[in-house]
């Protein structure tokens, strides 16, 4: 409020000084007919809102949740969803529109003024606060009792430790994981010598002749489903997923190990070495594998080396062969950890 000089009569309760600003009257201020119309507009908006709320309830009860309706531009859409969204939106919007119209047309639009004051406290208060602090410090003896002070600081510094330690069991190792560090676990997968590669989805073992030159199959270990059943999660899949591709053996410029292919069939991890997205965008002409998340590109004809993008590590290759029945099998686990880099990876 403004400071009132003693010569002025005190302001009556409920008044605010007008700002020293030019004010133009609105039509609703001067023309009672326009004002009346504005009143009717506001009331109609509130009334329409009531109507839309009723329509919402009617739609909720009356429209089947599977019914669809054709609306131009939007196409075939759920009738209930559209009806509920429109009626709810309209009912709420009209309350707001009515209130704003009321404020703009009928409530006073004369600007008023209040004074601001600096945030800083009066000098006397600051002095008193400082004095009270000194008194408190003196009375507690915090400055005098050095031993109390230091032991208190030590106690306060240590007491949160249990709270942090108790986070340890957020991860309870499974029987297989006991005694292994996270880095060890990240470095091994289900694959081992002689384990068949099955096609993801059908879970049928793959023969070399199933895969034409230029073809690609997403593969998983033959025992994946049982492992998933036992562990109750998808963890093993996230590490063991591979792609099998076949190229003309003459196109293979290098591999991560001698003879890790089988007649031009190569197996690579499907998990990107950048941040771990699954990859399956394979261009057979260039033998490039492109990650859809951050566009790291790997050349599968050249040991899976990175040719573009943010990934720093090549795509790990899985050595393969065929078993006596002629199905493609792994010959060992991956020679290096699959997926994103981590501190202990080396």
């Amino acid at each position: 409020m403004t400071d009132l000089s003693p010569h002025q009569p005190p302001a009556p309760p409920g008044s605010i000084p007008h700002a020293d600003v030019e004010h133009r009257l609105r039509v609703t201020d001067t023309d009672p007919k326009t004002a009346k119309r504005a009143e009717r507009q506001v009331a109609s908006m509130f009334l329409l809102s009531v109507l839309f709320t009723i329509l919402f309830v009617v739609s909720y009860i009356g429209i089947d949740k599977t019914a669809t309706i054709y609306i131009p531009v939007m196409g075939e859409v759920g009738a209930l969803q559209i009806a509920l969204g429109f009626t709810l939106g309209a009912a709420i919007f009209l309350i707001g529109a009515g209130a704003i119209q009321w404020a703009k047309k009928l409530m006073p639009d004369v600007e008023v003024v209040q004074q601001r004051h600096d945030q800083v406290s009066p000098e006397a208060d600051t002095l008193d606060a400082a004095g009270q602090y000194e008194r408190g410090k003196e009375e507690s003896g915090f400055a005098r009792y050095r031993m109390i002070r230091r032991t208190l600081i030590a106690a306060m510094a240590l007491f949160p430790i249990p709270l942090v330690i108790m986070l340890r069991d957020l991860w309870v190792p499974t029987p297989d994981e006991v005694g292994k560090s996270p880095a060890d676990i990240l470095s091994t997968t289900l694959w081992h010598d002689g384990l068949r590669i099955v096609s993801d989805g059908t879970y049928r073992p793959v023969r070399p002749e199933d895969l034409p030159v230029g073809g690609l199959i997403s593969g998983v270990p033959a025992d994946l489903l049982e492992v998933e059943e036992i562990q109750g999660n998808l963890n093993a899949r996230g590490k063991a997923a591979i792609i099998l591709i076949r190229m003309d053996p003459a196109d293979i410029r290098s591999q991560q190990g001698d003879g890790w292919d089988y007649q031009g069939i190569l197996a690579f991890s499907k998990i990107c070495t950048h941040v771990g997205c699954p990859i399956a965008l394979y261009e057979q002409r260039t033998h490039h594998l492109l990650c859809p998340c951050h566009q790291s590109t790997f050349d599968l004809a050249d040991s899976g080396e990175v040719v573009f993008g943010p990934a720093a590590r090549r795509m790990p290759q899985l050595p393969i062969g065929v078993d006596e029945e002629g199905f493609i099998v792994a010959r060992s686990d991956f020679a290096e950890p699959i997926g994103p880099s981590f501190w202990e990876r080396g």
Partner: protein, 580 residues
């Protein structure tokens, strides 16, 4: 006293009852008439607040129907294409919300749209506060709270986006885990603890759920409350205008005008989010299918506010170093930890840096026009350009497909542009601001150019300059000239070495960089003379308006001064004009 209805009498009695126990009438007396200034840009923060409330309300409904569990179930709901498919309970219940709970899809989409609008409104609100200097003393704390809220909002958005456990959101989590693992020393342990072992595990979604519905919203609610209390206590800033000073606040009283406008605006925002949520599909999780860690779809995109981080990850070169057998993944740490860390720290500290550089310790309740702080405005535009380039990077695959460009070329362009374009944006913005300052100075010294050319009786052509309206005059003269800090002396008068020389010299250079180029505001006398002169111009033209065909003269942007009672001689007029 006016007559009261029975309801009002009951209300009055209640107020008295409460007041006797809480002293609440003191608060009402001070605050029912509290003045709030009006400007369209002040609604940006309101949009953020209101969309947050809508997100809270719709979120409460969603918690009643959502099951945050990664246990495997077989879907048997009414969405036919996924019937019989194994999926997590989280995904199945998200499908139920979308197809079997009436209004569930509406609430889910309102929740998602509301969240997008919440973050967008916060960002634009932050731009407004930054470019107008509203963060200056005494409002630095509120700026910090705002930065904290922005970070929390990103966390709220990402944690919510990940809950339905569809293929798209699961891939987002997979990326988040990959980033987490790249943290030096503790990365793998952090990832194993948070995910309860390997990815995806079965414990992360329940954990994320409590973070999303309890921890983050609780923090946001607490900070929003403090944010608003500070606005209330410190009173809102206002734009310059007639009658507005640094020491007053001009606007409308809380009751009734501001209550009706702001309260009404809440319903407008709420209603519009409901309309969008009802009519525009967002995040159709049923299209993506359940999450499995070995599948992904091309063209996957995060929500818009995560795009800049994704873009940074995409355009970063593949640097990695191995030291003594330890791996340091610069290719992940720089874009996903170091860059955002620096960005948000710089944003948070900006008010303190600017105040230190400029030596400005006054309270500022009157907002700056962005042109009058060209360096600040330049820094702001530079940062926005930086952010937008990263954002473009996040969509490089979409852009490559849409415009048939090489994705490698786009990535290389961005790797260079991220260092080149922001400084260019800074220089261009700063120059544009200085140009606008010069134009303001012209307006004060000569009035504004009306575009109407007159030929005087003695043959001279002049363009009529008109005096500024009181509003323009108040706005333009609100500029305060700040002199850069003086260069320090190496030794004082007694030859004592100045120990603070280096730091003072740095401040001098920075403050010259900040203010050195500013176009000084003319003195009050010059302004008055200038406006007087413009008024004189306008007076010469005035008789033209008596002409019957004055309109026609104006159409040709010119005219001949010719009126019967010619008061001034040519010589007088020439003498008048030669003052310039």
């Amino acid at each position: 006293m006016t007559t009261s209805s029975p309801i009002e009498q009951a209300g009055g009695a209640t107020a008295t009852y409460v007041d006797k126990r809480l002293g609440s009438n003191k608060f009402l007396s001070r605050n029912l008439a509290k003045v709030f200034p009006d400007h369209w840009s002040f609604m940006l923060g309101e949009i953020a607040l209101y969309s947050f409330i809508v997100v809270l309300l719709t979120g409460v409904f969603l918690t009643l129907f959502f099951k945050p569990s990664m246990l495997e179930v077989v879907y048997d709901g009414s969405y036919v294409p996924l019937q019989g498919v194994k999926m997590s309970e989280a995904y199945a219940s998200s499908l139920d919300i979308s197809f079997d709970v009436r209004g569930g899809l509406l609430l889910r989409q309102m929740h998602h749209w509301g969240a997008l609008i919440f973050v967008a409104a916060m960002a634009v609100h932050m731009f407004r506060v930054f470019f107008t200097g509203a963060f200056r003393k005494p409002r630095e704390f509120n700026w910090l709270i705002g930065v904290g809220l922005t970070v929390l909002a990103l966390g709220a958005g990402f944690s919510g986006y990940s809950l339905p456990d569809d293929l798209l959101s699961g891939t987002g989590l997979q990326i988040a885990r990959g980033i987490m693992q790249a943290t030096p020393v503790i990365g793998t342990w952090m990832a194993f603890l948070l995910f309860g072992g390997e990815f995806p595990g079965t414990s992360f979604i329940p954990m994320l759920y409590s973070v999303h519905i309890l921890l983050i919203p609780g923090l946001i609610l607490a900070l929003v409350t403090v944010h608003l209390m500070l606005v209330w206590v410190q009173k809102h800033t206002q734009f310059p205008g007639p009658g507005r000073t640094n020491d007053n606040v001009v606007g409308y009283p809380l009751m009734p005008v501001y209550m009706a406008k702001a309260g009404g605006f809440f319903f407008v925002v709420f209603g519009i989010i409901a309309l969008i949520g009802g009519l525009v599909t967002i995040n159709p999780i049923w299209v993506f299918g359940p999450f499995t860690p070995d599948q992904v779809s091309a063209g996957s995109q995060p929500d818009w506010y995560i795009g800049f981080l994704d873009g940074a990850l995409r355009i970063m070169p593949n640097w990695e170093t191995v030291i003594f057998g330890w791996t340091i993944s610069w290719n992940i740490m720089i874009p996903a930890m170091i860059m955002p860390g620096i960005l948000f720290t710089a944003i948070a500290l900006y008010p303190f840096i600017e105040s230190w550089v400029t030596g400005d310790k006054r309270e500022h309740n009157l907002l700056d026009r962005p042109r009058n702080a060209p360096t600040r405005t330049g820094i702001g535009v530079m940062s926005i350009v930086f952010y937008c380039l990263l954002w473009v990077g996040g969509a490089n695959d979409i852009i490559a497909v849409a415009f048939d460009l090489s994705i490698n070329a786009i990535t290389w362009f961005l790797r260079v542009a991220i260092f080149v374009l922001p400084p260019i944006a800074f220089v261009v913005t700063k120059r544009a601001c200085l140009g606008l300052q010069r134009r303001d100075r012209e307006k004060l010294l000569h009035g504004f150019e009306s575009g109407r050319v007159l030929r005087l009786p003695h043959g001279e052509f002049i363009e009529v300059h008109q005096p500024l309206s009181p509003k323009d005059l108040a706005v333009i003269t609100s500029k305060t000239d700040i002199v850069p800090l003086p260069a320090p002396e190496r030794t004082d008068a007694d030859g004592v070495r100045n120990k603070l020389y280096r730091i003072q010299a740095l401040r001098h250079r920075l403050s010259t960089f900040f203010y050195g180029d500013n176009v000084p505001k003319p003195s009050a006398a010059e302004i008055e003379a200038g406006q007087h002169h413009a008024a004189h111009d306008a007076a010469i033209e005035a008789p033209l308006h008596d002409y019957e065909d004055a309109d026609q003269i104006h159409t040709f942007h010119g005219g001949v001064l010719h009126h019967p009672g010619m008061e001034e001689t040519n010589a007088q007029q020439i003498a008048d004009r030669s003052h310039d």
